[in-house]
């Protein structure tokens, strides 16, 4: 049994109502897409077949949702039990992040009714990176719900299910570590196929490694970002000591990533391109500048124990990591022959709607289900 408890309190807060309103707009555009086709709401075209639904909702969104992955890795694989209180909130955020990435994919793929073909052995294409990513993400969504299900067990006293779950939970957790490692790196491999269409600043055979590392440090950064906000909003008490330990691990990964990133650019002779002052060169610099700011802030031990500095560093790292992924999927991508892309209002509303649903569902779940452990001395009686 965990020490987590439902927070209770009012559900229909102003934040929750705003999220519901945005979800309403989402439903309008989603309905339009299913009736009149993707072209009726999106600026996607034959040159840019993938837009923000893939680049943000899936590629960036799933990195934001790597909190559950990195915390499970820390607590259960590397045996850092002291971070246990952070696991369940991180899993909850990951669960909705990935689930809504799945929803986004269903809006994005044209022939959604054929999705079952992914599970027919004679249709499977083992050569396809997309196949691997689709299978991994599909399975991982399921695994995340099961990983989180002890909270349902505690809430509804599902004794029998709890017993079965307890017997297999270690296998689920192991899968929950393996699957993101696989598909987060494959999200990088995916864009290798774009060949000359992707600018050399991003097209490198190191993409799988770079994507895995961004997933790791963005996962940690998200735990700090979300944790800081929830501990303020829900008055959970001070969690800074845990965040500062996490941030020091994150700093090492981030440093390693930056060394590889720049070494790779240098070795391939693209440094001149990076500093040429061109739009893409500047995007490359901006992406890494944001990460360097995060690294710089966290390199000082006093900043690592300062909640405000931690939060700012986490935001900079999340932005830098996201920009790297955006650059790889959209901004650095040019199919040639004059195609252009900028997300339409409809496309953006779908994305905002998914974010709103995520926030609404998260706030709802923490009030109903045991997610957070409260550290305030008065309330911490078992």
């Amino acid at each position: 049994m965990s020490k987590a408890k439902p927070l209770g309190g009012r559900i229909f807060t102003p934040t929750f109502m705003i999220c519901l309103m945005i979800t309403g707009f989402f439903i309008y555009f989603a309905a339009k897409r299913f009736i009149f086709g993707i072209g009726s709401i999106a600026n996607l075209n034959d040159g840019f077949p993938w837009g923000i639904w893939i680049a943000y909702d899936v590629v960036v969104g799933s990195a934001f949702a790597c909190g559950g992955y990195v915390m499970a890795l820390m607590v259960y694989v590397l045996n850092k039990g002291e971070f246990h209180p952070l696991v369940r909130p991180a899993l909850l955020a990951s669960m909705f992040g990935y689930t809504l990435a799945g929803v986004s994919v269903f809006l994005d793929i044209g022939r959604y009714l054929n999705a079952y073909n992914l599970y027919l052995p004679w249709q499977m294409n083992f050569h396809s990176v997309m196949f691997e990513v689709a299978m991994c993400i599909g399975t991982y969504i399921f695994v995340l719900w099961l990983e989180f299900s002890p909270a349902f067990v505690e809430k509804w006293q599902l004794k029998n299910f709890g017993k079965i779950l307890n017997r297999v939970v270690f296998a689920l957790i192991a899968l929950g570590v393996l699957l993101p490692t696989m598909h987060q790196s494959s999200l990088g491999t995916m864009m290798l196929m774009a060949g000359f269409k992707l600018d050399p600043l991003w097209h490198t055979s190191s993409l799988p490694l770079l994507f895995l590392l961004t997933a790791l440090f963005m996962g940690f950064a998200m735990v700090i970002f979300e944790g800081t906000i929830s501990s303020r909003v829900y008055d959970l008490g001070d969690e800074t000591s845990m965040f500062s330990k996490i941030s020091s691990i994150m700093t090492w990964i981030l440093g390693f990533y930056l060394v590889i990133r720049f070494q790779n650019i240098f070795m391939r002779g693209e440094m001149g391109h990076a500093f040429s002052g061109s739009f893409l060169g500047n995007m490359f610099l901006l992406e890494n500048l944001l990460l360097l700011i995060g690294l710089f802030i966290l390199s000082s031990a006093s900043n690592r124990s300062n909640p405000r500095a931690l939060f700012i560093a986490a935001v900079a790292i999340l932005l830098g990591g996201s920009l790297f992924r955006f650059n790889t999927y959209i901004i650095g991508f040019d199919p040639g022959t004059g195609w252009k892309y900028f997300p339409s209002v409809g496309e953006q509303v779908i994305t905002y709607g998914l974010i709103a649903m995520e926030i609404a569902a998260y706030t709802l779940f923490v009030k109903i289900f045991p997610v957070f452990e409260v550290h305030k001395p008065v309330e911490s009686n078992p």
């Binding site: 694989v77 793929i109 294409n125 939970v169 957790i173 196929m193 060949g195």
Partner: protein, 332 residues
């Protein structure tokens, strides 16, 4: 359908490998070779007069809708390949645009369509094998009943060929399938049947390659026989040979294609990029294969993870039980 069964067997072998952890039964990806009976098209830009006869012929043969541009809705006049247009003749023009096959003050035509790569990116990219390369004809065809509409083929295709029906509620991917329905019955592609000059020439790829060599050896200005419609149609026209660029586009680009181009002006003038010999596919799947060969590494990692998680989880539970008994003792 042969290729399907082979793939199924491969899949079955893959699943067996998964169960038995047999390293040997995992298959490394080899670069595809040209099937011996592969068919294709040789498009000779110097013979094309830009009559566009191939375009309506293509639409008729494939039941495609006309693609209107501008105010008129009378005739088909697409500006580029689209979900309504599988084949298009485009024009390069420079300066006064008077002299045919001249890079300055001249013009030349180019036919754009699926080139039917020997090692097609789209086939490797497609997660559900909706795009397959026929084992004997080498034609890259599309199966709408398998396609999930993820559009990875569009991202992967270096020639930007697959198009998507953006305005349909249940869209399909659209691309030239070399009139496989006609080829099946011993026929040839509609565009080649319709071509009056022999600019679009259908034939076995191996024979077309020999034909390209013959043309490259021609003396410009001298009159030669040029076959019309297909290599073995028996029909010929006589033309003065043009001054060919000594490079057949598609012969080696990204591993080669079954539709090849010959021209008297440089290919980049038509917007055809210069490509290396190795396809981008080999790079991506090479990495994928090093990691996921027979799923051995992931399974070994999974086994390790299961072991560690189980160990750590047990210690955690033991500690929790300890604490609970302690605190219970404390309360009472």
């Amino acid at each position: 359908m042969k290729i399907k069964r082979r793939d199924f067997l491969k899949g079955a072998a893959g699943s067996l490998a998964l169960l038995s952890l047999d390293v040997d039964s995992s298959q490394a990806r080899t670069v595809q070779a040209l099937p011996p009976d592969a068919v294709g098209i040789l498009y000779d830009s110097t013979l094309c007069v830009g009559c566009n006869a191939c375009m309506p012929a293509c639409k008729r043969a494939n039941n495609m809708q006309p693609d209107f541009t501008g105010d008129q809705e009378v005739w088909d006049n697409p500006q580029d390949l689209s979900s309504d247009t599988l084949n298009i003749i485009k024009k390069f023009s420079n300066g006064t645009g008077e002299e045919k096959d001249s890079e300055t003050d001249g013009y030349a035509f180019i036919k754009r369509q699926c080139l039917h790569c020997i090692d097609p990116s789209c086939v490797t990219a497609c997660p559900v094998s909706a795009l397959i390369k026929d084992e004997s004809t080498g034609i890259v065809s599309y199966n709408k009943d398998a396609c999930i509409g993820c559009r990875y083929c569009q991202v992967a295709c270096p020639y930007n060929i697959p198009k998507f029906e953006w305005d349909s509620p249940y869209p399909e991917i659209v691309k030239c399938q070399l009139c496989s329905h006609l080829v099946e019955k011993g026929g040839i592609s509609a565009c080649c049947s319709a071509c009056p000059t022999g600019a679009s020439l259908f034939g076995k790829v191996s024979d077309l390659i020999i034909e390209t060599r013959r043309r490259l050896q021609m003396k410009s200005g001298k009159v030669y026989d040029f076959p019309v419609s297909s290599l073995n149609s028996g029909k010929f026209h006589q033309y003065k040979a043009a001054k060919y660029v000594h490079h057949v586009y598609g012969r080696e680009e990204l591993g080669g294609t079954q539709v090849m181009y010959m021209s008297a002006i440089k290919y980049e003038k038509f917007g055809l990029p210069a490509f290396p010999k190795e396809s981008f596919v080999s790079m991506a799947s090479g990495i994928q294969y090093a990691i996921y060969k027979g799923m051995v590494y992931p399974l070994v990692v999974l086994a390790g993870l299961v072991f560690m998680v189980k160990k750590n989880k047990n210690t955690e539970e033991a500690e929790n039980d300890q604490k609970r008994t302690d605190s219970e003792g404390g309360v009472s």
